[in-house]
Symmetry: C2
Subunit: 219 residues, 2 copies
DNA sequence: ACATTACGGTTGTATTTACAACAGAAAGAA
DNA sequence: TTCTTTCTGTTGTAAATACAACCGTAATGT
């Protein structure tokens, strides 16, 4: 486990905690290390979870099969990222997704209850972990709500207007750059790229916006 | 503030904490009570927030204006519900929404930092607040991800398949009831009611599903 | 019993989208 | 340079959606 402290150190969860402190806290946080071969399941649909998990080596896919067996990949987990934090509440019920190793992978499980209830012994930085975890999940929450706000619009144009307005607010200016290229933006908003490109040009021709690559300006 | 302890007691935040303990913890949590007249702003777009807020009387709307001034109401806050938890991380930036009182309202602000860093003095149940808050936001997170999973599907049929599959998994049966009527389900999935109704009937005619009111069965 | 309202299903049309295919520009590699 | 790849815009068509309007039924209240 000690081999991975340099990875943990760079995660959101352990931000601001030194090597020695992480090392000292591992047992206090109920840390357990597991290895998975390519293709093996880290978590299965139907299981119950009370841990937050950090990927320290390899790569994972979060995927879901619907009732009729159609599989869709919801996302991927990169080294240093955590997952499982949305299922730790007692009322959250069974997992609805599978998590599968797409390469040989190594993860560390942390017992949520041990994270939340700060111990009295030794863990000088335990409060930081609680804070980091809370801020991380709070931040994720905010981003999800924002994205949902765009996606709940019916037409591509409305989605674009919602997204661009928000980006303008965030950057506090009517001109700004976005962190996506066209394909990525289309994926983010769940629309077809060419249709979106078409709509962007219409909006430009109507004098609503101007753009060049990922630079945008609202009028 | 003491007048509202019976309200706080029934919130997710203070679940499991007794009247006396809540009363004792208020100052420790940096609680501040504010009143707003109908139409006044509780929070404004552009402000920074480091508090979690509980509505103890009245009603609030969370709303957003886009760059061109089109207003949309994103949700409403009922008595006993908390809000603001998505904006408390230092990196979350300025608020992108307004929160407006639709009736004369009373809210209590709690300092997030005081919630997270459990104090040593007197607050026997402080750890419970941290846990409650964490589970609440984690739960919200899970629901958002699920909803986003449905909404990211392109067609009404795919959205329905995604939603019904998940409901089937949750209730662990191929037949189940859903907590929505048609209009509510359409709103939840952000589609047109009549188009959705049409699609449901097509799916029924194709032998994929059967339903009666809010009872569904998958084949 | 009657009127009213809420809900679910159906249909037609105009609008919008997805999808595929293609072309030009820009960036990068050989 | 030249070739290749990536990115973006454009167009046409088939498919899906939104919207409005209408009907029948069930539930509710007077």
């Amino acid at each position: 486990m000690k081999n991975y402290i340099h990875i943990l150190k760079r995660t959101k969860l352990f931000a601001g905690v030194g090597d020695d402190e992480i090392s000292a806290m591992l047992s206090c946080l109920g840390a357990r290390l597991y290895n998975y071969k390519k293709g093996e399941y880290v978590l299965r649909q139907g299981e119950h979870l009370s841990d937050i998990i950090v990927l320290v080596e390899g790569n994972l896919h979060i995927q879901k099969d619907d009732y009729w067996g159609n599989r869709s990949i919801l996302g991927q987990v990169a080294v240093g990222e955590m997952f499982g934090e949305a299922y730790v509440a007692p009322e959250s019920g069974a997992l609805l997704n599978d998590v599968v190793a797409t390469e040989n992978s190594t993860v560390i499980f942390f017992d949520v209850r041990k994270i939340i209830t700060t111990c009295s012994s030794g863990c000088r930085f335990h409060y930081l972990i609680v804070q980091n975890m809370f801020f991380a999940i709070s931040d994720k929450n905010r981003k999800l709500v924002q994205k949902l706000g765009h996606m709940s619009k019916r037409t591509t144009r409305e989605k674009l207007i919602s997204y661009l307005s928000e980006e303008s607010k965030k950057q506090n200016s009517s001109s700004f750059t976005i962190p996506f290229n066209r394909q990525q933006l289309a994926d983010f908003l769940s629309v077809d790229r060419s249709a979106m490109s078409n709509e962007l040009c219409k909006m430009r021709d109507e004098g609503l916006i101007a753009f060049d690559k990922n630079y945008f300006r609202l009028f």
